[in-house]
Structures are given as C-alpha cells and as structure tokens.
C-alpha cells in the first residue's frame, strides 16, 4: 500500500494556478526533498498534502484514505506538519508544547493519560529535548526550539511528517543536527517530506528529490540522478559545477563564478 498517493493535484489561489497537475506516489518511508526556485509552489504543495489547503482538482491519499474525507482531528493522526516559523513569545514549557501534539487523541473533557505522557517523553528523547521539558520555550536557542517542534509533530504519531524549510534559519551545526534527526525518523517508518532551500543539504540528506518548477514536478529521483547541471540550469537558471566526493559519494553543487572558465564537470 502506498503511504502517500497524489493524483492529478491542482491548486489555484483565486485565478492564479499555482500547482498544475502533480502525480506521484511513495510506498516506503524515506526523506523526500522538494526543491525549486521561489514561487514554484513548494509551500503550496506541502499545504495541499497536509490538507490545510483544499485542492482545486485532484486527490491526496494517505494509506489509501482520501484526506478530503478525513476530519481535522483524524488528519492530524496521520500527518504532522512543522512550519517554518512558530510564534513563541509566551512561557509555555517545552513539555506543554510537545503535549499539544497529543491534541488529536484527546477529547475535550479528557486530561492527559499515561500513554500520552509516555509518547511525549519518547518524542522528546528521540529529539534530544527531554532535558528542556520544564524550561520555557522562550529560553531555547533556534536549533533547540526546532527540535521541540519536531518532537511535537512526532507526538502526533504521524505516518507522514511535512516540514517547510526546517533548517533555513539555523546555524550549520543545528542544520546538520536536525537533518540527521529527520533521517533517523525514517527508520521509524515515517515518510518525511521536506521543502529545502539549500540544494546541497538536499543532496546530502534526501533519499529522493522532486525539483519543482512553475507548479509542476520538473524532475524526480535520487539526488545524484536529478541534481545535474542541465536540470539546475533549466529550473534555477544558474550555471553550476558539481563535485563528487569519491569517498562518501556525496555531491557538492557550486555555482559558476566565472563563466569564461571551462572546467571539467562530472
């Protein structure tokens, strides 16, 4: 059974068509990266996948269920979402924040059960945030905060985690930390779909990449296959040089600084 299946998805804001017919399906847990220039529809696509936006046309199926027919609470049991910015100017403790992730399982009149508390603890331990549980979210660094939000989404016990540029505003140390964490999540059977701004990070951490251009998937596949000079030139309108590290097999994409130089490309 496909974890996620997207059928002929289109979305328009008013008269403007942002997503123009996207089809794909994912059957195993992995880190799927969505990259593309600004305005290509990455965030819009993500919000259509989460069900926050209703497609103008087409369907999204999670574990064979059409998300159109799921109510908000049920959707939240399948899909977790970590947005770019979360308002945090209040003194909630990190524990309280992660416990919010249990909302889809809690009835209005219920208080948290032992199971909920265990799941919160587990989520915080996976994300290495349990030591912050009594600290106010305001007191954390950017990277620590981001881990707490991921813990919160994890507490929803989702099948799919959607992330919108989770590391764009972080220091490199935290970027690597979070991306490693994300990769570990797939070991738990979670499909992670993340929009990334940095192509190199995408190249390093994603199992599969979609390159989005003008609301369509221009290319999809393994990073090595998809991130080539031709595609990047086509989508980002930039000339680049791609280096491959023979030891790790990872690739590094560098924009051309001097056009007149003719360098050998891999």
């Amino acid at each position: 059974m496909d974890i996620l299946k997207v059928e002929n998805l289109s979305f328009s804001y008013g008269k403007k068509e942002i997503i123009k017919g996207i089809d794909f399906n994912i059957s195993e847990s992995m880190v799927l990266g969505i990259i593309g220039p600004n305005g290509s529809g990455k965030t819009t696509l993500l919000k259509n996948l989460s069900g926050y936006l209703k497609p103008s046309f087409g369907n999204v199926y999670v574990l064979n269920k059409n998300i159109k027919h799921l109510n908000i609470k049920e959707k939240a049991k399948y899909i977790g979402y970590v947005p770019q910015d979360i308002f945090y100017d209040f003194d909630f403790t990190c524990y309280d924040i992660v416990m919010m992730g249990r909302t889809p399982y809690l009835n209005r009149f219920q208080s948290e059960k032992l199971e909920d508390k265990q799941i919160v603890r587990e989520s915080m331990e996976i994300t290495n945030t349990w030591q912050f549980k009594d600290k106010s979210i305001k007191e954390l660094s950017g990277g620590e905060r981001q881990r707490v939000y991921i813990a919160r989404a994890l507490a929803q016990r989702p099948k799919i985690m959607l992330m919108d540029e989770p590391v764009s505003h972080l220091d490199i140390k935290y970027q690597l930390e979070i991306l490693n964490l994300i990769k570990d999540l797939t070991l738990k059977g979670i499909l992670v779909i993340t929009v990334l701004h940095d192509i190199n990070l995408a190249a390093q951490f994603c199992d599969k990449i979609f390159i989005l251009k003008d609301g369509k998937i221009e290319a999809s596949g393994k990073p090595k296959d998809v991130l080539n000079v031709k595609n990047i030139k086509n989508v980002f309108e930039t000339d680049v040089v791609i280096f491959e590290d023979s030891e790790t097999g990872s690739i590094n994409i560098v924009p051309y600084l001097n056009r007149r130089e003719q360098l050998k490309v891999v």
């Binding site: 109510n71 609470k73 939240a76 049991k77 209040f90």
Partner: protein
C-alpha cells in the same frame, strides 16, 4: 510545580471571599459588622435590610460576575489574537453598546430599555464587523481587529453627532459610558449571572485549543484543532458575555486588558489554569473597584471606569517592572 499552582488558586479564592465580605459590610452608609450579621440572621432594621439585600448584595454579585466575564473574555481574545493589547472591546462591542445606549437615553426608554438597546446594538455591531471581515469560511483575526477599530471610530463619530443634536442628554450619555453599578438590581443578577457563567464555562472547554492556536493558527490546525470553529465560537460567546456586561455596567475599561496579564505573570500561559485564575482575579478587582467607587468620596459615587484605570494601570506597571527586573537578573 502543580502544588504551587493550587496554592495560588487557594490564595485567590480566599481573597475573593474576603473582598466579598468587605464589600457587603462597607458602603456610603456606615453599618457596623454586628448589624450586618444581624441582617443575615434576620434581625436587622428595615433600612439596613434594604441597603444590604436590595442594594449591596446584587451589586456585589453583578460586579463579581462582570469582572469574571470581562477577564475571561480578555484572556481568550488575547490568546486568539496573539496580541497582549487585546481586550474584550476591540471588536466594536463598546462603541456598539454606547450607540444603543445613546439612542435609548435620547428616546427616554427607561432602564430596561437602556440595557436592552446597549446589548442588542453591541451584538449587531460585532456581527457586522465579523461579516465584513470574513473571506469565505475563514476569518482573519487581524482583519477583524482592524475592522473593529474602523467601525468603532465611525460609530463614535455618529454618537458625537447625536449628542450634539441632543445636548440635553449629553451628560447622561457620557456618564453611562464611564460605567458603574449604581443602579444594579436583582433583575440584573438573574439575567447576567447565569449567562456569564455558562458563557465562560463553554469558552473554558476550549482552553486547550486556544493554547495550540497561540503557537499559530496554521500550526494549530495541523495539530487537529478546528481553528475556524474555535475562533468563531469564542468570538460569538465572548462578544455575548461582553455585551451583557456592558449593558449592565457601562463601559468598564482595563479589567479585560490588565487582569489576564496579571494572572499570566502569576500562573503562566496555559489557558486551562489561566482562564479560571483570571476569572477569580477579575471578580476580586471589580468587587474592590466598586467598593472604592462607593466609599472613597461618599456619599458621592465615582464612575467605576476611573477607579479601574487609576488602580489597574499603575499596579500593572509595577508588575511589569518587577518581572523585567527578574528577567534582567537571569
């Protein structure tokens, strides 16, 4: 941690009871404590009985409930709008109520007519603000806030015009807006207490949802919170409670704005504790404010809005400065 919270609640509750007792025993007319007790035991004089049962008691109850209602609504609105400057009146309730009251005063509709018009007009105004702010099924809180400001400004201009053309009623209108519980009777209690209580309780059920909404409406929706429904419900019930409060006590400022902040500084941002704590503090605040309004320059009555501003503002400043000092030391 949990122990600390229940301590605060217990303290607040005792302060509430103490304030109530103080409020019953003090007033423009001096009634010694023994005589107050006698009234409750059935052996008081006719005058004292009238004063305590017909005048002070309903006033105490209404001011407590209005204080609770305004604080609870203020807490929720501040949460929904993620704006610490929000108060129950921002969506146009106060100017709407003033408009209705002005018409009632000009047409000399009597006390009941005044309360009714104020209430009706307040509700209609909020409904109007809501209708022009919503896009499809969603409503943006920011848009509502701005629309509320615009509508309030417009209505204020109309009210000024009406006062101009009916200058005989000018002072009556002005003093209604300043607020006060001087003419509160048991009828007001029967109408306002149950509605404010039920309204506050219903809103309280959504505390967890509003906690999530505080981290962002989109975030909340992704967590499984039906954000649009919660917003509309809180706006509707909150406006109802506020409109009722205004129709019975005039426009009393600062309670809905400052009490939630004070409560938050003491008990934290979790609405499940914050809301009831705000409610208790709000009741205490208005009971005491009403007491001062009656007693400070007796037998003259000071409009309660002046008291809430005079005491609320500086006390809040003090708390802010103290919390700033605390964070600076960290």
């Amino acid at each position: 941690m949990k122990i600390k919270k229940s301590l605060y609640f217990t303290a607040a509750f005792f302060i509430l009871v103490f304030s109530a007792i103080l409020s019953i025993s003090a007033g423009a007319v001096e009634i010694p404590l023994q005589d107050v007790l006698n009234v409750f035991l059935g052996k008081g004089t006719e005058i004292n009985k009238t004063i305590i049962f017909s005048l002070r008691l309903p006033r105490l109850i209404v001011s407590a409930f209005v204080g609770m209602g305004l604080s609870v609504v203020g807490t929720f609105f501040q949460g929904l709008l993620r704006n610490p400057m929000a108060d129950p009146y921002i969506l146009g309730v106060s100017s709407g109520a003033a408009f209705g009251a002005t018409i009632a005063i000009i047409l000399n509709l009597g006390i009941f007519g005044l309360s009714f018009m104020a209430f009706l007009s307040a509700i209609l105004t909020v409904f109007f603000v809501y209708t022009i702010s919503k896009t499809g099924t969603r409503v943006s809180m920011t848009t509502m806030l701005l629309a509320g400001i615009a509508v309030s400004a417009f209505i204020s201009a109309i009210i000024s015009l009406m006062m101009l053309l009916n200058h005989d009623q000018f002072s009556r209108i002005i003093f209604w807006t300043m607020g006060g519980f001087g003419l509160v009777t048991w009828n007001n209690v029967y109408v306002s207490a149950p509605i404010i209580t039920v309204g506050s309780f219903i809103m309280y059920l959504f505390s967890r949802d509003v906690n999530a909404i505080l981290t962002g409406e989109e975030s909340a929706e992704h967590l499984g919170v039906n954000t649009e429904f919660v917003k509309k419900l809180i706006l509707a019930i909150g406006s109802l409670v506020t409109a009722l409060s205004v129709s019975v006590g005039g426009i009393i400022g600062f309670v809905g704005l400052i009490v939630p902040h004070i409560a938050r500084l003491i008990i934290g941002p979790d609405n499940r504790y914050l809301v009831p704590f705000s409610g208790i503090l709000g009741a205490v605040f208005l009971i005491l404010a009403d007491l001062f309004a009656r007693v400070l320059l007796k037998p003259m009555e000071i409009p309660i809005g002046i008291i809430t501003a005079a005491f609320g503002g500086p006390f809040f400043l003090y708390l802010l400065v103290r919390s700033k000092q605390k964070s600076e030391r960290m």
